[in-house]
């Protein structure tokens, strides 16, 4: 890559469709040019349930982004979420005929093998992220390139998606004549934009609590160890408030954003919030403690589900850099101490860690779309340059690669 290239990340979320246009420089620097954002319709729990409406919203967001950045978007990186996204570990191995220097293409073959072995008729692999390599059955290394071995084994953290639901999302964008360059899992994107390499080395859990889903990924010693999607998010909190306090959804949503707190000390017994009536709702007072109880029970449940996953994989004690929370729900009042207590570690709000980012974009709910752009930039930067090795790479690519693996 010799000059700047435009990278576009698209996230079709449950509450909003977001497009981020960035410019990546040959040195790897990413500059965000602008965003387009439209409230979503036809998306439930992160999955498209009404293709026409979802398409309309995302094309509005694309047009808005094009107008704001004065670019023409031709291809995009797409974030895909939903309960069908699963993270798992997979081990592949290959033997070399003679002890030989391991080269990048060997690793590509391993990646490809991981893809072939873990894909089925209905599951498609989105990411095969290398966790560790084992040489000759004993020596564990981070990057084996340049080392000599007879046998290489690789453990991948794979993230896969349901083929048809993936196709539904892709088709939604294809309708507008765009090419989908690559599909990115939001959890991976969130980690890419909200955490630093140091944090990932120390061990960090990244939570993206959106409206429809909660995506999580845990990095230990720099590599992803656990990831997944819970189809529970901010909409559930709103729904709980609406059902528990018998309020219309719009008012419940406003209460969640403006009044609810996870800090028990903010509500005294007898504290009430008076809600003004309007045409469709006669005003009422609700007990603040009730509101907080409803919200905290839901958030606690989400966190406990994730914590139990960490516990069963024995990863809970390794989160040196704590928990990073992003997504729309990161703005919930009292969330950080609540999280810190539940996970027994520190917690912070995740914001896009991009240099020179304008204040308006320094928002936890933009972590994922910006992360998708960041991941896209990394993919573009790793594109093969012309050279002898790359020729080989391209050769393998033509045989195996339907899609470029992200690593």
């Amino acid at each position: 890559m010799s000059r700047e290239e435009i990278i576009v990340g698209v996230e079709i979320g449950t509450s909003k469709s977001c497009v981020v246009v960035g410019e990546v420089h040959p040195d790897g620097r990413l500059r965000i040019l602008g965003t387009g954002e439209q409230p979503s319709r036809g998306v439930r729990k992160g999955e498209i349930v009404d293709a026409d409406n979802a398409f309309r919203c995302v094309s509005d967001a694309l047009i808005e982004a094009e107008e704001r950045t004065d670019t023409q978007i031709r291809y995009v990186f797409l974030g895909i979420t939903g309960s069908h996204i699963r993270g798992f570990e997979h081990r592949v191995s290959m033997s070399l005929d003679n002890p030989d220097v391991i080269q990048q293409e060997h690793l590509d073959i391993l990646t490809q093998r991981a893809r072939e072995e873990s894909e089925t008729n209905d599951r498609e692999l989105i990411h095969a992220l290398p966790m560790r390599y084992t040489l000759d059955g004993e020596q564990e290394v981070l990057t084996p390139v340049g080392l000599i071995a007879r046998q290489v084994e690789a453990d991948f953290h794979c993230i896969s998606a349901d083929r048809t639901r993936l196709a539904n999302s892709i088709n939604c964008l294809r309708k507008s004549g765009l090419d989908i360059e690559e599909v990115v899992a939001p959890s991976f994107a969130a980690a890419a934009s909200a955490t630093s390499v140091q944090e990932r080395d120390m061990g960090v859990l990244v939570l993206d609590i959106g409206a429809g889903t909660t995506d999580f990924i845990a990095y230990i010693e720099g590599v992803p160890r656990l990831s997944g999607v819970l189809a529970v998010g901010g909409d559930h909190i709103t729904n709980d408030i609406s059902l528990g306090l018998r309020l219309p959804l719009q008012i419940a949503e406003r209460l969640k954003i403006e009044e609810a707190s996870l800090d028990p000390s903010t509500a005294m017994p007898g504290d009430t919030i008076s809600i003004k009536g309007d045409a469709s709702f006669s005003g009422r007072d609700v007990a603040r403690q009730d509101l907080n109880l409803i919200v905290s029970m839901r958030v606690r449940e989400i966190f406990e589900l994730i914590r139990s996953r960490l516990e069963s994989d024995r990863l809970l004690g390794f989160l040196g850099a704590g928990v990073v929370i992003c997504g729309g729900c990161a703005n919930l009042s009292g969330l950080l101490p609540f999280t810190a207590e539940l996970f027994g570690t520190t917690a912070r709000i995740g914001r896009p860690q991009i240099q020179g980012i304008p204040n308006t974009l320094n928002n936890p709910s933009l972590v994922v779309p910006i992360g998708i752009t960041r991941a896209g930039a990394d993919i573009i930067l790793n594109l093969p340059q012309s050279g002898p090795i790359d020729l080989v790479k391209n050769f393998f690519g033509s045989i195996f690669h339907k899609k470029r693996p992200i690593s």
Partner: protein, 630 residues
């Protein structure tokens, strides 16, 4: 693959059909293969099916058929081409329909015919409306069923009234509904599994079709899945408990029976052998078993059994009538103990295998008897494909059934007429002379006497006569009979003209009420329901009562002429009396409603697929599930 590349599509038609698809997709069917078709745009908009077809854009303008099959039919005719295009090139098209409403009843026959004409094999999986939904819907449903039978290659009928059975009456309402949906979607998935998946022993498509192809026949379908220690037989037992299996008692009348056994890599040959032998004991001499065996790694340590077959409608009806006459409530009938050594040739259902004493619990694995033993016990009885090599004890089977169906506790059972099985267990006093007497008569004779008993009330109700579906008719007949008996019971107990110990405190009565409630609740929640109203025809609540008391039945048979002059008004009065009588039952009914109300409040997620993690539906507010109401 042994046969050509196989393509199948599933169409959910009408409100109920579209809903069934939702369950299907969450059970793992790929969304691309399912087509949602409805006149009602709203129902389509919440479906996550890959293809959505709005029927009758001009006829119904996106508003649904309003319960009128004529509109459904016109809408389907308008959109026939669209449907045909959607399933072009498919070998197998499965049509999931709830009959009784407008779109389902009207459109299904038209669409089935259109698809069948374009060369695909069409299997319709239909649900019949609840009895309380009224005669009009029942009539629409049975008319549609008749037309559908003529149009589709095979029809598998699920009766809503019987869907809750396998769980037993104490099951939660929600559980019962989930079970009904799961049963239907499993039926669909099972069909596809048998037809599409590569197997160790592969069943070909035409074999499967042969098993269900009989016209004018009832489909038998059973699915079982188990990972217990004794998983093969457990899975078979589960399969036999499916509502469409009729406890496996009709298996002997099947000409062809498809049995597909799937298991993970751990499946052992001996398990398959045991399973097929157990099944072999239930089937008739002439039944040809088409056996498929598949290895499916995703099953892990589980074994799944799918049974598919069909019996002639006449046989099914006959059995129904026998049931009525001998006073056996179907819910009380037990699955023939599949682990038992059969002592009678299964010529009729009265010759059920003897259930063993409940205490005899021995792991079946230790009980394999040599071939000679069971052969001796059943001279001349040999299943066509497998030689019997049974284990002679059935204790685990029976215990399990009791656990699932908690009502007939020993005390309760002592008030009941004995089950046939218990008859054979030699209950000391023969206080139910009639059924026993009948037991000894050949079935033909019973059949001959039966129509007289039921035809009298039948002639009074003109609607029934219009039912062209034989089974529906017989079911309806039975209910009328039960109703009159129930009323008679009541009359007697009030007048105290006859000692009636069980009439007022009938242990099974609440079940009937619960069934009605669950039916009502389902109706409320069903998208294509009419305005809810009380059952106008004799409801299921009386159904279990009459057959339980053979002395009554005898009486009612004798006094049948008494009801010759019964008119609608009297029937209504009796209905009213029925509602008033069980005070405690209405209280229980109310409670059931409240529980249901609390358990399923999903708010804005009401129409989306549930998010189930660790067995909990996370769409329901946490505070409700953890019972901390603010």
């Amino acid at each position: 693959m042994p046969h050509q590349p196989f393509k199948s599509r599933i169409i959910g038609l009408g409100g109920a059909g579209v809903n069934a698809l939702q369950q299907l997709i969450s059970e793992g069917a790929s969304a691309a293969d399912v087509i949602a078709a409805n006149t009602d745009v709203q129902s389509l908009s919440v479906s996550s099916a890959g293809i959505k077809i709005q029927l009758g854009r001009r006829v119904s303008r996106g508003l649904g058929a309003g319960g009128d099959p004529e509109i459904g039919m016109a809408a389907a005719e308008e959109s026939t081409d669209e449907i045909r295009n959607a399933v072009r090139g498919c070998n197998l098209v499965i049509l999931a329909v709830g009959l009784g409403g407008g779109t389902g009843s009207g459109a299904a026959p038209v669409i089935a015919r259109a698809i069948a004409e374009s060369g695909s094999y069409v299997v319709a999986i239909v649900t019949m409306p609840f009895h309380f939904e009224g005669r009009r819907r029942a009539k629409q449903a049975s008319d549609a069923l008749g037309a559908l039978r003529a149009a589709a290659h095979a029809v598998i009928v699920f009766e809503n009234d019987r869907m809750g059975e396998p769980l037993g009456p104490q099951a939660g309402v929600q559980e019962a509904f989930a079970n009904a949906d799961i049963t239907i979607s499993r039926a669909v998935l099972a069909l596809i599994t048998i037809a599409c998946r590569e197997s160790l022993i592969q069943l070909s498509l035409d074999e499967i079709f042969k098993a269900v192809e009989l016209k004018d026949s009832r489909c038998l379908f059973g699915f079982g899945l188990s990972d217990s220690k004794d998983r093969a037989l457990d899975a078979l037992e589960q399969a036999l408990q499916n509502p469409l299996m009729d406890r496996g008692l009709l298996l002997e009348h099947c000409e062809n029976l498809v049995v597909q056994v799937n298991g993970g890599s751990e499946m052992r040959l001996i398990e398959v052998q045991d399973l097929m032998e157990a099944l072999g004991r239930l089937i008739g001499e002439n039944t040809q078993v088409l056996f498929g065996l598949g290895a499916d790694p995703s099953l892990g340590g589980c074994i799944s059994v799918i049974i598919l077959g069909s019996v002639p409608e006449a046989e099914y009806t006959r059995r129904r009538q026998l049931l009525q006459q001998t006073g056996a409530d179907e819910r009380n009938l037990r699955t023939p103990a599949i682990r038992a050594q059969q002592t009678h040739p299964p010529t009729s259902f009265t010759a059920e295998p003897t259930p063993p004493p409940l205490s005899a619990a021995t792991p079946p694995a230790a009980l394999s008897y040599p071939k000679a033993v069971s052969n001796q016990s059943r001279p001349g009885e040999k299943p066509p494909t497998i030689s019997p090599l049974g284990s002679p004890q059935t204790a685990p089977a029976m215990r399990r059934i009791h656990r699932q169906n908690p009502l007939p506790t020993p005390t309760a059972r002592s008030q009941h007429p004995p089950l046939f099985a218990e008859n054979e267990l030699q209950e000391p006093e023969p206080h139910f002379p009639r059924p026993e007497k009948e037991d000894q008569r050949p079935p033909e004779e019973i059949q001959e006497t039966q129509p007289e008993a039921v035809s009298t009330p039948d002639s009074q109700l003109e609607d029934r006569a219009e039912n062209n579906d034989a089974t529906d008719k017989s079911a309806g007949d039975s209910e009328i009979l039960h109703a009159t008996q129930g009323a008679l019971d009541l009359k007697r107990s009030v007048a105290a003209s006859m000692p009636q110990p069980e009439a007022s405190a009938h242990p099974r009565a609440p079940i009937g009420i619960q069934n009605t409630i669950s039916a009502l609740v389902k109706k409320f929640s069903s998208p294509h329901s009419e305005r809810p109203k009380l059952p106008e025809t004799p409801s299921t609540s009386t159904k279990p009562q009459a057959p339980e008391d053979p002395p009554h039945q005898q009486q009612s048979a004798h006094s049948a002429p008494e009801f010759l002059d019964v008119d609608e008004e009297k029937l209504a009065q009796r209905g009213a009396a029925r509602v008033v009588r069980p005070r405690s039952e209405t209280a229980q009914a109310k409670q059931e409603f409240l529980q249901f109300d609390q358990g399923t409040t999903r708010g804005r997620f009401e129409k989306s697929a549930p998010t189930i993690i660790d067995g909990q539906d996370l769409d329901i507010p946490t505070f409700m599930r953890q019972n901390k109401k603010p």
